[in-house]
Symmetry: C2
Subunit: 634 residues, 2 copies
């Protein structure tokens, strides 16, 4: 049942089965990877209406067959257990409520006893409080079992198709505060009632109606582990074969980005087997757009949580250097910037008898040193290069390159730039000390420290950089972090290639900006790189805000930029993934509400850190107060 980017795993859903081994056999014969089926004998509780004892007895006696009808290997690999869909523990009918509660617990116990990999729960109404209460102990105690909450994309349709008095009243009960006809609201309430759990996810059922773009965005932030495709939404093409409408095709492929498994439910068209739907979906899947360069390079990192580097306190490892040296574009941009700076610095007329002093500060294993030499050759200017690096392991490689490649053109300096006594002043300082949030790897502090040996009219590449902020819904990442036992887990910014997420505001807003050379360096007590900013956002649609996404862009020199801001992202540059800045307690945002965010960049003698909070629509704690949970050492 494992799924990955390259393959599609499709199951066949059964409404009811008289023999599970037969159903499994049929599903496999038709080419399906698994089946999704009730695991109990069908009972019709309404038959016993009014007679609770008889109803409970029916639940008990004709309950299920033996667990030996399949082997453990079969149960655990091929069966998704669908909880009976008549069950409604939130029913207003006390008889049905009681019977449902008994039956649900018994089915869950049985499914867990069988060792099925996944249990599918129906979500058919906005009332989910008792449902949450009943399933919670099962979800938390079963360590391996996955849960899929089966939610319809458009709930209204469900209401029409099941003309139940209670449900018909829903539209009437709905109000702007909680649109009861939105199945996303049902799911949102259910998952918030339960403790965060990576095994508790959504099986989204496509419906013939499709919701508006905001509705789709709401779902795109959710952990959609299965996509249910009913045969009833298929059209028939001229050859008499089932096909999806253009709109449904687009929808299917759009959700495929999240890598769900697929379940085909409903009857096959007259004279067809389900295999034809399976083949159609495989065909559709094969027509996905091929991955971009960026996607190929970053595959496997989606929603993977990394703790930001500590570039000063720790030394980067060989593998880290090797990885970022593979970026196909970052160094191109830097070379362009150095070329422009050299041309501005040394007029053509002086090219012959002027040598520019270029210092690469934080040289790593030397790629910017090489690019500097290349730039000089390209524009016909002479340079004397210093490679300053504080990581002794990287210096070993720099020395080796000097011996074997660069010779006298480069001086290797094994020093922290903030303390180095340079033998001369530089015309150009080249550095790449940027983090995903711009200043978060302490580029400001390091470059301020190096400014001593930059000529007063010298150039810094980069010239400036800015961090950005936007509220985000990212259930998967936040749930993952909630699973960590340390209290600091939700008071730390992370580096994450945010994938299963949605931005909750139309505009990404700038936060902190730093420029070099820094005029404040001449202040009597040096520059102050502390900052405080308030930023307001208007929610573009209702959603659950899990925190903020952070980005940066940087003007390297003149018109040469690098950026990971989604709207100006330097194509194919993969050296930086976004930042995720969590809120301990997710906040429900209504469309149009204002998020008011406060962010601090603070520093003392030994460290730099961020603090953050919101004051609207609710007031949160101030996160990471005093840098208690996360700081960057100076």
């Amino acid at each position: 049942m494992a799924s990955n980017d390259a393959s599609l795993s499709v199951g066949r859903g059964f409404d009811s089965v008289s023999s599970l081994p037969d159903a499994l056999h049929v599903g496999q014969e038709e080419g399906f990877d698994f089946v999704c089926t009730p695991i109990v004998d069908p009972i019709a509780p309404s038959k016993y209406q009014g007679d609770l004892a008889a109803g409970l007895n029916a639940v008990d006696e004709s309950f299920a067959q033996s667990d030996t009808i399949l082997s453990h290997a079969e149960w655990s690999r091929f069966i998704v257990a669908a909880i009976s869909d008549w069950i409604n523990v939130d029913s207003k009918d006390p008889y049905l409520q009681r019977l449902s509660s008994e039956a649900l617990q018994r089915e869950l116990r049985w499914a867990i006893h069988l060792g099925v990999p996944c249990i599918m729960l129906p979500l058919a109404s906005p009332d989910v409080v008792r449902l949450a209460n009943t399933i919670a102990p099962f979800v938390s105690s079963s360590r391996m079992t996955q849960f899929w909450v089966r939610a319809p994309l458009v709930a209204r349709e469900l209401i029409n198709s099941q003309p139940d008095e209670q449900q018909r009243l829903l539209l009437a009960r709905s109000d702007a505060d909680r649109p009861l006809y939105s199945s996303w609201e049902w799911w949102n309430q259910l998952r918030r009632l339960l403790a965060p759990c990576l095994r508790f996810n959504v099986a989204l059922e496509l419906t013939s109606d499709i919701c508006d773009e905001n509705g789709l965005l709401q779902w795109e932030a959710e952990p959609i582990k299965a996509l249910i495709v009913p045969t009833s939404i298929f059209l028939t093409n001229s050859k008499g074969n089932p096909v999806l409408s253009k709109a449904h095709q687009a929808l299917f492929l759009r959700f495929m980005r999240l890598n769900p498994q697929v379940v085909v439910v409903g009857d096959a068209a007259e004279g067809q087997t389900h295999n034809i739907y399976l083949r159609y979906l495989h065909f559709l899947f094969s027509k996905r757009a091929p991955p971009s360069t960026y996607q190929s390079f970053t595959k496997g990192y989606e929603d993977y949580i990394e703790i930001p580097l500590q570039p000063l306190m720790d030394n980067l490892e060989s593998q880290t250097y090797e990885t970022f040296e593979k970026d196909p574009i970052k160094y191109v941009q830097y070379q362009k910037a150095v070329e422009k700076a050299l041309l501005d610095r040394i007029p053509e007329s002086e090219a012959e008898n002027t040598t520019a002093v270029v210092m690469v500060v934080g040289a790593g294993r030397g790629p910017l040193v090489q690019r500097t030499l290349d730039a000089a050759a390209e524009v016909g200017r002479q340079v004397r290069v210093y490679a300053v690096e504080k990581n002794p392991n990287a210096v070993i490689t720099l020395k080796h390159r000097k011996r074997t490649e660069w010779a006298d053109r480069v001086t290797v300096v094994s020093q922290d730039m903030r303390r180095w006594q340079a033998p001369e002043q530089a015309d150009i300082l080249v550095s790449e000390l940027l983090g995903s949030w711009g200043d978060n790897e302490l580029s400001p502090e390091c470059l301020d420290g190096a400014q001593r040996f930059l000529k007063p009219d010298g150039i810094s590449i980069p010239e400036e950089y800015t961090s950005y902020l936007v509220p985000v819904a990212a259930h998967r990442v936040h749930t993952d972090l909630s699973g960590h036992t340390l209290p600091k887990a939700l008071e730390t910014p992370y580096v994450v290639l945010l994938h299963n997420h949605v931005l909750l505001a139309p505009e990404i807003k700038p936060l902190f900006k730093f420029s070099h050379p820094n005029p404040e360096c001449s202040n009597p007590d040096g520059p102050d790189n502390q900052r405080y900013m308030t930023v307001a956002f208007k929610a573009s649609h209702s959603g659950l805000m899990h925190g903020f996404a952070g980005y940066f862009d940087s003007k390297l020199y003149g018109d040469v930029y690098i950026s990971i801001h989604p709207e100006t992202h330097t194509p194919d540059m993969f050296s930086w993934f976004p930042m995720f800045i969590p809120l301990k307690n997710p906040v429900y945002l209504r469309q149009g509400e204002t998020v008011k965010a406060h962010v601090w960049r603070k520093a003392d003698q030994h460290k730099v850190w961020y603090e953050w909070c919101i004051t609207s629509p609710q007031v949160s704690d101030i996160h990471n107060l005093g840098g208690e949970h996360y700081f960057v050492g100076l």
Copy 2:
């Protein structure tokens, strides 16, 4: 570099190399899986004897080449970094000590920077305190790197071959308390100085001398992750090819049980390449004895730690029943026992008109029910069977089997045997409620509760069971448990197929014995199943005691037994693995010393638990006092 039972991973060791890429190439051409080599340019510190600055400078300048000479993929898959063997941070020579300390740290930093999977450290003297102190921060901070401590099997040889004043004094300094010439003692001291770490292991180097059996046993309890085979221990056969002596062959295969990787070191014989040694070792490896039935069934579970079942508080899952129903021998023994009991109970003459009432209490999914019916058929006796089971999920299967197989012959009772009001008295109670330590799954309490409905002269199968105890050295398992953060981790008994372990006493001693029917049941306030025992053991050889191994045997009926006691183990029966009862702090045992163990079985209204401690050769805490960390719920 992954190794598994079925394959042998062999590396080639180099003493010094001028080009690492060449060495890797040579090793791969010769068919080796990896190479084990210094990663720094060779320096000869003795050249700078007396001139510390020059020595340190030599360490600095001619240190290493660039990390770019290999790709990260190569570093991380094919290179074991051997720390320079001249390094001796515990040297009495202050100059060599200082130089060694600098060089060792630098080599460790560089190896970790390179991302090699494994670092090999030389262990050449009994003085290891500064070595431990120097490496400790590297071991604890590098999360992925493995460490191999290269220890000679027989240290005396090393002392002879390296005639260094300091080392020649060793034998003189040795005393009975700490035999300094035993390399196991060096390792033992080193690993105890460091925090427990599963990544810190032994590379045992075979020597031409072989130690006595006790010496081999000492090593067999240790985490031997690599076996170093020097070419110098090979003999030359009549065809002029290198072969190992019979004794070395046996030794090699003996240590192969622990699945180490192998490293061939030393020069090849005149006119040979190293490939011939590689082929010889592969050939030898292929001649290992094939796995026994027991080994095939239990493969993959070696040293895997399981928390004992809670048979009363929890319900077993389908998979668990399926697994133990596969035992090829347990049910055969039970059937034999039932046959004998039926024959004893009903004389041939009464076979026609007497029906024995057999109650299978704790019937699970019914295998003992079936065996009871089979036994009756086999010996021509009539039985009326009750299947009593408290797990509602198992009852579903029992009911199904009654419907489809057993019909009127079996009555299924969905009850706890301690509370069931039986409609009649039983002639025979059949149960299997035994844990790895006999009584630890509360068989005594359950069967005492069922005795109400056993006829006064009725038979219980099993009739009796006994638990056993022996002190054990088991570095791997104890280290694994030490890694768990909960304080309870080392105050809980576990179920473990002990593999990389050695028993430290010649005799395994009986502990608690229970018999059924229990005469104490007629006591006014019922039976008392609490126990306290003191047991003494004499250490058969020096070793580090990590706790106790526990076993059980049981007389089912008459002369029919089942046992997991190593000396009487029922062949091929795999339903129970041994128990491991840890000591929080391992205790160093000298050969001949007495271990005095105290074990309690305690109970209150709600639970049963064990407490344990030792009072010789040292006094330990009483573990699990009051059942705080581990108990079995009633």
